[in-house]
Amino acid sequence: MLPNPAQTDFSSDELDAIRAQFPILTERVNGHPLVYLDSGATAQRPQRVLDAERDFVLRRNSAVHRGAHWLAAEATEEFEDARATVARFVGARPEELVWTSNATEGVNLVAQSIAEASLDPAADPRVRLAPGDEIVVTELEHHANLLPWQRLARRTGATLRYLPVSDEGEVEGIDEVIGERTRLVAFSHASNVLGGYSPVERIVARARSVGALTFLDSCQAVPHAPVDFGALGVDFAVFSGHKMLGPTGIGALYGRFELLDALPPYLLGGSMITTVTMDGAEYLPPPQRFEAGTQRISQAIALAEAVRFLDELGMERVAAHGERLGARLAEGLAGIPGVRVLGPGPGAPRIGLASFVLEGVHAHDVGHVLDERGIAIRVGHHCAQPLHRRLGIAASARASTSVYSTHAEIDVFLEGVAEAAEFFGVAGTREVLA
């Protein structure tokens, strides 16, 4: 649990031990060893996470919070312990952590609940919006942290504004755009396209000074660096299990308790009520209020194991590892003729992720060439179309790492990009023959 102050990268022995937890890394693709550089989309799940889930299912599986029998009591305890473990990992109290399917659902949950509260004159004014109010997002958001706010604005008559990004992908205009009318600022902790961090402290400070709530999309930060939502002072935050060595099907919403408590329920159903009649219902306090129906129980237990794994590695070291890989990626790419690297320039901190464009070649074609050599990267708009439009491109290619990624893999990848450039004869311009 204690961060290692030395912040050293993993030794090659340590990396071997880490990689042994991920049998998928020994797969071969088209005769080449798999080089998995798509961890930003979904990370691989270590064996011990699967083991923890299996052990639970085969020994203690039961419905939670509903059963009176021994198995149900055991399962409830393990489930709530998992919540406490994950909450501690992100600097939250257990009752401030709501399980969701993924980060996307967490954003929608808050946006829907605010929309609902806005219809109710008796609701807490902090979570009510009205025409004239402004919601601010950034231009680099993942669609998950954009579309729900667009809908919220439509529903409440509030205006959606955005913080523009510079050519280097820096979030700008904080003091100009966030103003007296701003009621909520939703932004990414680290960009899934650019790999750089947002100026969280400055945005939070500015939002606070105008009395606006803050909502942090921490999908790409929680897996890669020590994160403490309490210390950051954000009001809400979301992240996904599958990006942090945990299972798919689970994510979490963090909310300051008093704000969660001010929100009306989201999904309605079992396990979130006290009394139900044919006409209406009374609801439990958070987090149960937002957890209708049977929960992703074994997935919560698996996610807690992923968190223990990360804790044992030490998040400071995980961050150091990622930063070094990210730097090597960005520098190596910048050295290939015809390649434009997106995001922070050399020296600026980035997570272990870099996106790029190969001049005159579509990202999918680059990706295809790499795929033939067993290198798995992501191509397209990465669910961030507005950012791509802002940068004047339709698509980009992205390499993203995790704790099991190696410098050698980065080198294989860089060679592959160089070969793709050669293969397509980069900077071949299109002659249009109509």
């Binding site: 088209n30 070649v361 579509h362 990202a363 999918h364 074609d365 295809h368 060439v369 033939e372 191509v379 397209g380 708009h381 179309q385 791509h388 339709a394 698509a395 293969f423 397509f424 071949g428 311009t429 299109r430 002659e431 249009v432 023959l433 109509a434």
Partner: protein, 142 residues
């Protein structure tokens, strides 16, 4: 590299770099705009015909080499082709491209477009190759 060369034949690369039919100058009402949801790439396509014969297929858009070459080859293929041929051609093309490498395009019927045969082995590229053809279908429906 042989699979790669099979997919990205010189003909494909040429068509993608110097596409045929690129540029929308007609006001034909037979048009369509399609987006490939997996990548966001788009095509706008218009068919000029007199009810019997296709005069030209014009298009604009951006996308990967496969999608651009496919649009270009489609445009080449249909020029001055009987309108009645189009539907069966699209059906055959779809069948072959979705066949996972089991069905090849007939050279007699498809000419240069058989250069797209390599696509059918790659599930992830089927939508690229189909984009223009789906737009074509839609344009003729409208």
């Amino acid at each position: 590299m042989s699979d790669l060369r099979h997919l990205y034949q010189e003909l494909i690369l040429d068509h993608s770099r110097s596409p045929h039919g690129f540029g929308l100058s007609t006001d034909s009402p037979h048009r369509s705009h399609q987006v490939n949801p997996t990548c966001g790439d788009e095509i706008a396509l218009a068919v000029v015909h007199d009810g019997t014969t296709v005069e030209s297929v014009q298009w604009e858009g951006q996308g990967c080499a496969i999608s651009q070459a496919s649009a270009s080859l489609l445009s080449t293929l249909l020029e001055r082709r009987p309108l009645a041929d189009v539907e069966p051609l699209v059906a055959e093309f779809r069948e072959a491209i979705q066949s996972r490498g089991t069905i090849e395009l007939d050279e007699e019927r498809f000419g240069d477009a058989i250069a797209l045969n390599g696509v059918s082995k790659y599930v992830a590229r089927v939508k690229c190759a189909m984009l223009a053809w789906v737009a074509l279908e839609d344009a003729l429906d409208s």
